[in-house]
Every structure is written in structure tokens, then in C-alpha cells.
Amino acid sequence: MLGGRVLDVDLLLEEREVHEVHDILLREAVRLARELEGEDFDVGKFEAQVDNSREYYPNPKFCKLPPTFCSANCPIEECVRIKMLSEIEILRQIISDYRRRIFQKVTSAPEGPPHPQRKIKKLELEDLVRKEGVIALTVKYPDGWRDMGKVKLSTVSSELTALLDEHLKNVGIGEFRAALLHLSVGTYIICKGKFLLGVLAAPFVREGLLFLWAKEAAS
């Protein structure tokens, strides 16, 4: 999904134990929180917040103990599973919200306060390809398209921008500026600016970051 791939929780639950899925989501949430709030982010406090927001804790169907006795080490398997699933749902919502906020932060702040990710502003275009995760880059210079990287993107960049340039205006949604497309091999971005630019990056590269690179490189 955009803004980072949305974890397919249902698929994860089919393939893994609930506590593993819970750990994956918790790690992802912490990673995103750190990205959003910096390294000072209090993991303990965050975990406590998630813990406190559980709705079915404890589950009276399986456990008659008062809530204070309830713990993750509870021997009643089904009860623990339900609690975990409840927490997984909360984490999924938190991750979705974090992704949205990170994406807005990196794509909408024009000059904004210094953000760690904005350090990449100094990167030259060619450095994008050397940057980890960027597979290929194609740029339209005044003398034509030039591919940098192992994958040839100039043809598709050229055809796609021509298609969008010609047809988006006809539909009445304005002049084409940028496109973000998803492939299983990664994310492809075209930005129309100083240079017309195409970037293909590996799936693990976050789209917000990628879009920022592309925007800054093209401006």
C-alpha cells in the first residue's frame, strides 16, 4: 500500500502464531513512532498505552479472574489469543495512523523545520541510484532521457508521461504533476519538475521518503 506497504494482517495470522504477528506489528509501530517522534520516543510508555487500550481484557467467557490478575502468561490459551487479537487490531490502527502522519510530514512540508529525512536534499540525482533501495532512475534532460541504474526505465517513463500529459487534462483534474505506482518489485514514481524523473525502488523503501527524494531532485 501507499505510505509503506500495509501489512497483510490476515495473511500473517494464517501463516504465523498470534504472538508472532503481535510482535511484528509492535516492532513496526515502534519503528514508525521513532521515525515520527525521533529516537527519544518512549517505547515503554507506548507499550503501556497499547496494553491499556485493549477492549476485551480479560475475557469473561474464559476467565473469571478480576482484571488485575490478567497477564500475558495466562495459561488459558483461548483467552490470551483473544487479547492478542484485540491488541493486533489496535496496533494495525496505530500503524495506519503513523504511516499517514509520516507521509503527510514528508510530502507536505515545503521548507519546514529540519527533519532527519530532509538531509537527503543535498544528494545529487545520480546518488539516488547508489542510495540503498533505489534500483533505477531515469531523467529527462533537455537532450533526452537518460537511464541510471540497472533497469531501463526511459521507455516506460516517456510513454507514461506522454499518456498522462495528454489525457489527465481532458478528464478535468488538472495538469499532470506526479504519479506513484505499485509493483511487487517495488514502487515507481514519476515527478514532473525541473527534470522529468522516474524512480524505481525496492519494496522496502518507504514511499514517503521516496517521494521526497523525487520531489527534491526534480525541483
Binding site: 501507499l2 510530502t107 499518456l163 489527465l168 488538472g174 505499485h182
Partner: protein, 141 residues
């Protein structure tokens, strides 16, 4: 068909498939930040729409979506054999998202340029996708 991770936007599956599609699109269009949406098939024909009056020509939008998705399907297929999943196109005034749902494409028009409009509505759009996918599964198996 792979199910989306999201719950359906419309849990009322009564009525025929067209009715459910229309209701889902209307609900999606009611969302703040969403200007309109439509469902098209791979040939660029309108299946259902909720674009509001006088805003955009559904036939033109559907034709563009059909052409674009054909191009992307072809290109993505050449790259690694993977099917097209979704894209967001940003213009100087607004943006347009296309999500593949089974054999159909959901096209959503969003307020504002850039990608933040899509991100702000991604959950609702995904819920609409889930509804359409469920209805397709029920109808086509």
C-alpha cells in the same frame, strides 16, 4: 481472490450487485476529501459511478482508466510478471487514485494535489475495495 485486510465499508449486501456497488461508491463520495469515484472494467467501460452532477464525464474517466491500467498491466507484466495493484496520479489541483479490485478498477478523485489526500482516505478507500471484492466473490465465486 485475495481479501483486503480491511472490513467492508458497506455491510449491507442486500440487493443486486449493481445496487451494492452504487451504494458503496455513494458512501465513499460522502467522505470528506473525496470528490467522486467510479468503477470501471478492463475495457474502460463504466460499471458504476458516483461523480456528482456536472463534474466529470464518467465515460472519459473510464476510458482513461482503462487505457492507463492496460498500459500498466502490460508494463508491470514485462517487468516481473506481477499484476498491477494501485496507483496515485497527482495534478496541480487534485489527485486520482486507481485500485484494482478483481477484474475491475476503482477510480477515486481526491481533493488537493500531492499524495496526502490519498493517505488521509486510504482506510475508507480500502474498505470500499473490500466491499466490492466481497460482492464480486459472492457473485462470480
Amino acid at each position: 481472490m485475495k481479501q483486503d485486510v480491511y472490513a467492508p465499508l458497506d455491510r449491507d449486501f442486500t440487493g443486486d450487485v449493481q445496487m451494492v456497488f452504487k451504494r458503496t461508491l455513494d458512501k465513499l463520495t460522502e467522505e470528506k476529501g473525496i470528490l467522486g469515484c467510479l468503477l470501471v472494467d478492463c475495457e474502460g467501460l463504466v460499471v458504476s459511478e458516483s461523480l456528482g452532477s456536472g463534474r466529470k464525464d464518467p465515460e472519459e474517466v473510464a476510458a482513461l482508466a482503462g487505457m492507463l491500467t492496460n498500459f500498466l498491466e502490460h508494463w508491470f507484466g514485462e517487468m516481473d510478471g506481477s499484476p498491477f495493484d494501485q496507483c496515485v496520479l497527482s495534478t496541480d489541483s487534485s489527485s486520482m487514485a486507481i485500485r484494482k479490485v478483481g477484474c475491475l478498477y476503482l477510480v477515486v478523485f481526491l481533493k488537493g494535489s500531492g499524495l496526502s489526500g490519498y493517505m488521509a482516505n486510504i482506510v475508507t478507500i480500502s474498505e470500499a475495495v473490500a466491499t466490492i471484492a466481497m460482492m464480486l466473490q459472492r457473485t462470480c465465486g
